[in-house]
């Protein structure tokens, strides 16, 4: 890419990158706020685990372009393209977070949970002092998978006018300008890598050494 290209598009790339981050971050926050409690809930009534995870699984198989299309006619969501994008990304992020929260807590040594009960910790204390910290590494692994997926899918959000780096890609495809495609694709890939390593760091930080 020549310096002329960068000086022409640099500002726009910056704005669109921020937009991209903003869309993904909102989706991840909402998804985590839904999926972590759901994952915890499933450990309390495991007979729900299969159907709930199946639904999250189905959500994830919907092609992203179709998902944006489905959401378009909905009343409140359809008003603003960004809302549609965030709702769609949230839907995709649910599965890995629910699954990992559930598996992370279920994977804790039963002897540890038993001692927590026997020492007289309340249900709340067991959850926040024992279960979530011990499952944290798993939960962050789920968040990592979800974030990387969402950074990729968020490029499609430009199709419904939600902005983000997909805008450059779509424009580049339409005008057969590979430089524009790359101007969208490279920052998107870098974002995914950055999210992957940052959350990977948290994942390792919370890893509990085996006795």
């Amino acid at each position: 890419m020549s310096s002329g290209f960068l000086s022409q598009y640099g500002g726009e790339i910056g704005t669109l990158t921020l937009e991209h981050v903003w869309l993904t971050a909102w989706a991840m926050l909402i998804a985590a706020a839904i999926a972590i409690p759901v994952g915890v809930g499933l450990t309390r009534s495991p007979h729900w685990a299969k159907p709930v995870i199946a639904v999250a699984n189905i959500l994830q198989t919907i092609p992203s372009l179709a998902m944006f299309g489905f959401l378009l006619p909905l009343p409140w969501l359809g008003d603003r393209a960004a809302r549609i994008a965030i709702a769609a990304l949230t839907a995709y992020a649910l599965l890995p977070i629910v699954r990992n929260t559930y598996a992370g807590i279920r994977g804790i040594d039963p002897a540890i949970l038993e001692v927590a009960r026997a020492l007289g910790l309340t249900g709340r204390q067991r959850l926040f002092k024992v279960e979530l910290p011990l499952a944290a590494s798993f939960i962050f692994a789920g968040l990592r998978t979800a974030t990387v997926t969402c950074v990729g899918i968020a490029t499609i959000a430009a199709a419904v006018g939600a902005g983000g780096l997909g805008e450059l890609i779509f424009r580049g495809v339409a005008s057969v300008d590979n430089r524009l495609v790359l101007a969208g694709a490279i920052p998107a890939a870098l974002l995914a890598l950055a999210a992957d390593s940052a959350l990977g760091l948290l994942e390792r930080w919370f890893k509990v050494p085996a006795q």
Partner: protein, 260 residues
């Protein structure tokens, strides 16, 4: 004075119907140690776990200090009892100090009190903490300790809230014989000064004889003998004899004689 712990006609069955405990009645005097002896699957742990309501009996009731455990708050009941199990019971994400102070933390006691109590107890169980040492025990994590050290921390944690009752489920079962003997000595010394009512589950006859004021032998969910240690050694009851004969087999094989 009511018994510290009393089992009244306790029966426990799993949901599938198999009976784990069959009509057990026992009264444990305050300040004594009762060893529950028996082979794996005899119902020892189940009996211990009815005391802190980790297991609910199908019929009968458990009384602690004359009051049925099923009345009142289960959290308060459990906090009033120390609980020690085999090796795996420490929280791997907490330091030794936090593990020991966890019950106090759960009760919302201030940090300074927890830290002080933790250090007192670590000293009591033979792990004198040293604030100045870079490898201070209190700041280590469970995976940085040996099996014996972990078990000492587990005992310190059980004693943190000064419970009147100590429930110990095969506490030294995973340790090598030498470490186990050290732990038994330490526990005996500690209990001599504390006047706790201890329920000790073990399959080790030596441990039961050494630590118990009384030995209850369980077999297939029934209490088949309830004897003082010296009585246990003399009893002609076939089950007791069988248990006795399962120990020190090396001696009978001539291991103590010089072979020519």
């Amino acid at each position: 004075m009511p018994a510290a712990i009393e089992f009244r006609h306790i029966s426990v069955a799993v949901p599938q119907g198999r009976i784990l405990l069959h009509d057990i009645s026992l009264a444990l005097e305050e300040g004594t140690t009762t060893a529950i002896l028996g082979r794996s699957g005899s119902g020892k742990s189940t009996l211990l776990r009815t005391v802190n309501r980790m297991v609910e009996p199908k019929s009968g009731e458990v009384l602690v200090g004359g009051k049925s455990v099923s009345e009142g708050d289960v959290i308060a009941l459990r906090r009033g009892m120390g609980y020690v199990i085999q090796e795996t019971g420490l929280f791997p994400h907490f330091t030794v100090e936090r593990n020991v102070g966890l019950v106090l933390e759960a009760e919302g006691r201030p940090r300074e009190e927890r830290a002080r109590r933790s250090r007192e107890l670590l000293t009591a169980v033979g792990l004198a903490p040293d604030d100045l040492a870079p490898d201070d025990f209190a700041r280590r994590f469970p995976h940085q300790l040996s099996g014996g050290q972990r078990q000492r921390v587990g005992l310190a944690r059980a004693l943190a809230a000064e419970p009147a009752i100590l429930l110990m489920d095969e506490p030294f079962g995973a340790l090598d014989p030498l470490t186990r003997a050290e732990m038994q000595d330490m526990l005996r010394g500690l209990l001599a000064g504390l006047k706790k009512t201890v329920l000790l589950v073990t399959h080790d006859l030596d441990e039961a004889l050494y630590l118990g004021d009384r030995i209850v032998l369980l077999s297939e969910g029934r209490a088949i003998a309830d004897l003082k240690p010296h009585e246990f050694m003399q009893s002609q009851q076939p089950e007791v004899e069988a248990y006795r004969h399962a120990f020190h087999r090396g001696e009978r094989n001539g291991a103590t004689e010089v072979r020519g």
